[in-house]
C-alpha cells in the first residue's frame, strides 16, 4: 500500500479528504505510483504529468522521506519506507505569493 499526499486543489478535484492510498504491482517507481493514482482517480490525468509529454508539470514537485525526487527520472525506485507505507509520497505545489 502506497500513501500519496496531494495538494489542496487536487484533493478537491479527486474528491478525497486527506492522503490517498494506491496499490502498485511490481517495482515502485514514481511513474508506477502516478499510474496507479491516475487509474484510481482518472480526473487527475494531465494534472500532475503533462498529457502530451508525460513529464512532471513545471510547478509541481515530488518528495518522500525528506528527499526531493523532482529532478529524478520517473523510473527511479522509491524508498522502502514508501513501498511499505511508513512514509507518504508527496506531490507538492510550488509556493506562490509573498
Amino acid at each position: 500500500m502506497i500513501r500519496v499526499v496531494l495538494p489542496y486543489h487536487l484533493r478537491n478535484l479527486a474528491g478525497v479528504e486527506s492522503e490517498v492510498t494506491v496499490e502498485v504491482d511490481g517495482e515502485v517507481t514514481i511513474a508506477a505510483v502516478l499510474d496507479a493514482l491516475e487509474a484510481r482517480y482518472p480526473v487527475l490525468k494531465g494534472t500532475i504529468r503533462d498529457h502530451a509529454t508525460g513529464r512532471r508539470r513545471p510547478f509541481l514537485r515530488f518528495f518522500a522521506c525528506q528527499h526531493d525526487f523532482s529532478q529524478d527520472s520517473m523510473e527511479v525506485l522509491l524508498p522502502a519506507e514508501v513501498v511499505f507505507g511508513a512514509e507518504p509520497f508527496l506531490v507538492v505545489g510550488s509556493l506562490a505569493g509573498g
Binding site: P7, P42, H51, G93
Partner: protein, 391 residues
C-alpha cells in the same frame, strides 16, 4: 416565466447569477471551482441545462467541467473510475493534444515574441463554444492557438488540425496575453461555416466544417506590421455576429473597430467618433442587427477606460456613430478593464446587456444599455460573462 442566468468566469472560480425576466433582483451562487481560473463558462443553446466550463491553473493544467442541471452539480466528463477496453484509465476530458496525423507534418513552430520560432505548446482552453444544435458537441479554442471539438459531451477532444496546419501558421505570434484562439462563431444557417479569431494571428474562416481554413483579414491595418497587405499577424480581440445576418461581422481589433459585410472577405473601419478604438469585447443587440456595443479602453499601454470613466458605447447605425452609455456606470476614478469574453447579451425584449470587469463587478442593463446597475461588486477579476435566456 422567462428567467436569466448569467455565467461568470473569474480568476478564482465561477459564479452563477440568476434573476427573473425583470432583471432587478439577482441571486449569486458560487464560487464553483474556488481558487481556479475559469477562463470561460457557457451553456448549450440546444439544452440550457448543459453548461461547460474551462477550469485551469498554472500548477495543475486544464480541467473541463460539465453540468447537466443548469450548474447545480458538476462533473469532469469521463473522469470517473472507468476503464477503457485496453485497460488504461480514462479521464481524458482535459487531454488536448495537437494532432499531426491530419496535416501529415510534424507539430512545427510558430513565431515567438522576439521573432524566433517557438514550439507549439498547449496551455489552456480560452473559449468553449457549444454547438447550436447538439448539447454533446462543443468547440474549444485553446492557447497555443488551435481549435478542438468534442462530440461526446467533453469526454474526448480532437483537434481540427487544418487550421493550425495552414501555411501561415509559422508566422502566427502571441499577443501580450498569449496566443489564444478566443472567438468561435458558428453560422446558424450554415453550421459548416465557422469563424475563429486568434491573438495575434487574425481571423480565419472554414466553409467545410473545419477541414480547410483561410485567413479573412483583408482591410485590417496594424501599425506594427510593416506589410500593409499582411495576410496574418493582426491582433483581433473579438468578433460578433447577429444570428439573423451571419454575413455581417463586427470586430474589435487591438486598435480599430471594424465591420465586414461579406463574411470576412473584406473589412472596413467603423470606429467613427469613439474616444478610443482600443478595447476587447464587442456585441450585437439581440433584436437589431445594426446596434452594436463596445467598451473603449484608453490604450494598449494603459488598460483602463479613458479619463477614468467607464462607458459602454452603442451604435445604432452599424458603426461610425457611437453614443456613450453612462447612466449607472462609474464616471470618475474607475480604472478597471473589460476583457474580450466578458460581455454578453440576453434575448429578452428589451434585451439585456452584461459585462464584467477586472475589478470584480458585473454590470447589467435591462434596457439595452440605457441604464446600468451592478449585479455584484466584489468578485475576483472577471474573465468571462455569458448569459442564458431561459423560458
Amino acid at each position: 416565466m422567462a428567467a436569466v442566468r448569467v455565467l461568470v468566469g473569474t480568476r478564482k472560480g465561477a459564479f452563477i447569477l440568476t434573476s427573473d425576466a425583470g432583471r432587478r433582483r439577482w441571486k449569486v451562487k458560487g464560487p464553483f471551482f474556488g481558487g481556479w481560473e475559469i477562463y470561460h463558462i457557457k451553456g448549450s443553446p440546444a439544452d440550457p441545462d448543459r453548461i461547460y466550463a474551462s477550469q485551469s491553473s498554472s500548477w495543475f493544467g486544464q480541467i473541463i467541467q460539465r453540468s447537466s442541471d443548469g450548474g447545480r452539480s458538476w462533473e469532469t466528463p469521463g473522469g470517473g473510475p472507468t476503464v477503457s477496453s485496453d485497460g488504461m484509465p480514462q479521464g481524458e476530458s482535459n487531454k488536448f493534444v495537437y494532432d499531426t496525423s491530419q496535416t501529415g507534418a510534424p507539430l512545427g513552430t510558430h513565431q515567438w515574441y522576439d521573432g524566433t520560432q517557438h514550439p507549439w505548446e498547449f496551455r489552456r482552453v480560452w473559449h468553449l463554444e457549444p454547438s447550436p444544435g447538439d448539447p454533446d458537441t462543443v468547440y474549444a479554442g485553446v492557447e497555443d492557438a488551435a481549435l478542438f471539438r468534442s462530440t461526446d459531451g467533453g469526454r474526448t477532444w480532437h483537434e481540427l488540425a487544418g487550421l493550425r496546419g495552414h501555411r501561415s501558421a509559422s508566422q502566427w505570434s502571441p499577443g501580450a496575453g498569449g496566443m489564444g484562439l478566443h472567438t468561435i462563431l458558428i453560422d446558424p444557417s450554415r453550421p459548416e461555416r465557422i469563424f475563429v479569431a486568434i491573438s495575434a494571428a487574425g481571423a480565419f474562416r472554414t466553409d467545410d466544417g473545419g477541414e480547410t481554413w483561410r485567413p479573412i483579414n483583408r482591410g485590417l491595418k496594424s501599425d506594427y506590421i510593416p506589410d500593409p497587405d499582411a495576410e496574418v499577424g493582426h491582433c483581433v480581440h473579438r468578433i460578433a455576429m447577429h444570428p439573423s445576418r451571419p454575413n455581417v461581422l463586427f470586430m474589435q481589433k487591438h486598435w480599430d473597430v471594424m465591420r465586414s459585410d461579406d463574411a470576412g472577405d473584406s473589412w472596413y473601419e467603423v470606429s467613427g467618433n469613439l474616444p478610443s478604438d482600443f478595447g476587447y469585447p464587442i456585441e450585437v443587440h439581440a433584436h437589431d442587427p445594426e446596434t452594436v456595443y463596445v467598451i473603449p479602453i484608453k490604450s494598449d499601454s494603459e488598460h483602463y477606460p479613458p479619463k477614468g470613466r467607464l462607458r459602454v458605447y452603442r451604435s445604432r447605425t452599424g458603426g461610425n456613430d457611437w453614443e456613450p452609455l453612462t447612466k449607472g456606470l462609474p464616471q470618475r476614478n474607475c480604472y478597471v478593464n473589460v476583457l474580450r469574453d466578458a460581455m454578453a447579451i440576453d434575448s429578452l425584449d428589451p434585451c439585456g446587456v452584461y459585462f464584467g470587469t477586472t475589478g470584480g463587478q458585473v454590470y447589467a442593463s435591462a434596457d439595452a444599455g440605457d441604464s446600468w446597475k451592478p449585479i455584484v461588486r466584489d468578485l475576483p477579476a472577471v474573465l468571462s460573462v455569458e448569459v442564458q435566456t431561459l423560458s
